[in-house]
Symmetry: C2
Subunit: 393 residues, 2 copies
């Protein structure tokens, strides 16, 4: 009767290319030996570079000290303005981020739709398997459910958004599950751990391998001035920025009971200390430290990932008063795991040395994990994969 | 004791800028009068353009016919290589997509983190309020929950992913809710409606305004060869492409009962015809047409949004057999709403004229909605905002 013919495919494909400048090339191409080729069609460009954390870092002098900035490699121009670069060596298993720099302008790879936002930057990503990063891939295993849900915080006087992972089988098992509260760092939000942290993939994989107990993971928004991640609240699509002064003055910690009450009221949870864990990266490690000592009966498992340790002395909040006394109370109650992890080149390394010295002096037991590199997502994903198998056992 | 001083902010902000080439400018800037300024810092560029659907389209001759391609405007270079363009007129209320073209290379706006993928293209977006697009914004109203969840499809022999919107209050009300199945088009997946379609925002807003009944919205993946959207299944992070031949041969329709059974078994639903709606755009309209006639007792509300109407005659499936007889059965059972919507310049316009002629000849009642423009997301968002208020009343 009426014909919906194959020519529609051609038309739509053509339109797609024509409308949006699509390029019919593959980038990045991950070869079987785990070398990677990056490609960009840019006939008018004079210089094309790739910048990313798969390249050796370059120690660079800055007004704030010496930083290991990501390395840069030059692409070579080939026929028809097709630039390319292939890594000289296979890459280790990891989730990598990169961008192109075309004549000085940083751009995303138009042939790679996989991008993740980190604060105000959006970069392309790719994953090399065959090692730990297999945990970051979506595997053919049972998958948990990831929900974005809103709750009311009476303490902060606003409705707020969080991201919740419920494990495979949660909806139908009728069982109660332990809860792991997982907190982001400065500039992050309730999207950080699920995106750059690959939390859902890591949990799915560790649970499928029998290495982690099925658990609920609650990823909150630690910025008290926000209702939700940028673009996800009535504040609209503004440009994200770092806003430390609003987020480390006690109100995040004071409002955290609102989250725990909401979760316990709305999910089948193990409603006791042995069924709750809390961990966070950087500012989220700071929050985890203070929340766990402020409410010493709530969490049996505490993780400080590259944690910021103390507020500035100018910060006044009852949360930060009587630190030593509260720590004593917390450790008198013998948490099952107090885990501190940091990379050797982290700018917070010394602060963590000092904090461990305090714990050592008091005889408070903790487990310490130290590895290479600094204040980067690569480490936070590693810490998550190390921490989760120790929970609720 | 240990000081976590404010200098950390400076350092991290600096690192942020240095590492990833952040630009400290605002783009796009939406002015109070709804003109918009686009900016790009590109000192070495010779020519910078912006391409987007906020500009008047340009009728363009192509091998496939004349297409209305998006307009292009030139940015002007200012001090320090800061290029800018301000729209000469205020923009109408809408969600717009755009990219920059720098010396012929299409790039994303590095100062705008809001991007949406459409098949293989990622473009920046912004919203102009003050009209219908207020429905596309996150408002200060109660928010539903959006979950990505996996289900088993025995018909297709695989686990598959879907996106589910449950309305505000669903979790605690104890009530049963009607279900609206909302299907994407070619190249789309279970992320299409929630991202470009702004389904969660539209439902939140229409429900808060009392214009729509609280309902569950189920957004499936209509590509039977996929378990999930690109990057969300074990197939990994491949480059998305159009794959029509796999998705309009009957198996999507045959497997749809798996979805309905899963939803009815796992959610508090109104488990009858008057509690179910189905609609889709383009290929999803085609699927909605065939699913609703194949299972004439399932759906009281059917929406065809810019629908592809018929399979090619070479396609063999029992789904497409006995079309007229099945339509007769469907309409004998008097669906409460059979809604057909299309834009005047849609390349499927004539196919829809022909299909309506068939319905008219048989005396089958339907409601018709015709507007400007063609086969674009602007229209599909409009159709969603028009269709939803008519459901379940």
């Amino acid at each position: 009767m009426y014909s919906f013919c194959m020519c529609v495919v051609s038309v739509v494909t053509f339109a797609q290319q024509a409308l949006w400048g699509g390029q019919d090339i593959i980038s990045p191409e991950i070869h079987p030996d785990h070398t990677v080729t990056f490609r960009l069609l840019a006939p008018k460009a004079i210089k094309v570079q790739v910048i990313g954390d798969f390249l050796p870092t370059q120690p660079t002098e800055t007004p704030y000290g010496t930083f290991d900035l990501p390395g840069v490699a030059e692409l070579t121009e080939g026929e028809g303005g097709l630039w390319s670069y292939t890594t000289p060596e296979p890459l280790a298993s990891e989730l990598y981020s990169y961008s192109f720099i075309v004549d000085g302008l940083k751009i995303n790879d138009p042939n790679n739709v996989y991008q993740i936002r980190d604060v105000a930057s959006v970069t392309n990503v790719f994953i090399i398997g065959g090692g730990r990063a297999d945990l970051y891939q979506v595997s053919d295993v049972p998958h948990g459910t990831v929900a974005r849900r809103w709750y009311n915080s009476p303490t902060l006087g606003k409705n707020r958004r969080l991201t919740i992972y419920t494990p495979p089988g949660y909806e139908t098992s009728g069982k109660s599950y332990p809860v792991f509260y997982l907190l982001h760092g400065m500039g992050g939000d309730e999207e950080a751990w699920i995106a750059l942290g690959r939390t859902a993939q890591i949990l799915d994989n560790l649970i499928a391998q029998g290495k982690a107990k099925p658990m609920i993971v609650v990823m909150t928004n630690g910025n008290v001035y926000q209702q939700a991640a940028p673009g996800e609240a009535a504040a609209g699509m503004y440009k994200p920025t770092m806003q430390l002064p609003n987020t480390m003055e006690g109100s995040m910690e004071e409002s955290f009971l609102d989250v725990v009450k909401f979760i316990d009221a709305n999910y089948r949870t193990v409603k006791k200390k042995s069924g709750r864990a809390i961990a966070g990266l950087s500012m989220g490690g700071f929050h985890s430290l203070h929340i766990s000592k402020q409410y010493p009966d709530l969490f049996d498992y505490v993780g400080l990932f590259s944690a910021a340790i103390m507020p500035g002395e100018e910060v006044q909040s009852p949360i930060y008063d009587h630190m030593e006394q509260k720590l004593k109370t917390q450790f008198d109650k013998k948490p099952k795991l107090y885990w501190i992890a940091i990379g050797k080149t982290d700018f917070l390394y010394q602060a963590n040395v000092d904090y461990r010295k305090l714990l050592d002096e008091k005889g408070y037991p903790y487990t310490y994990y130290e590895n290479e590199d600094g204040h980067i997502w690569k480490n936070w994903r590693i810490y998550l994969t190390e921490f989760v198998p120790m929970l609720f056992k």
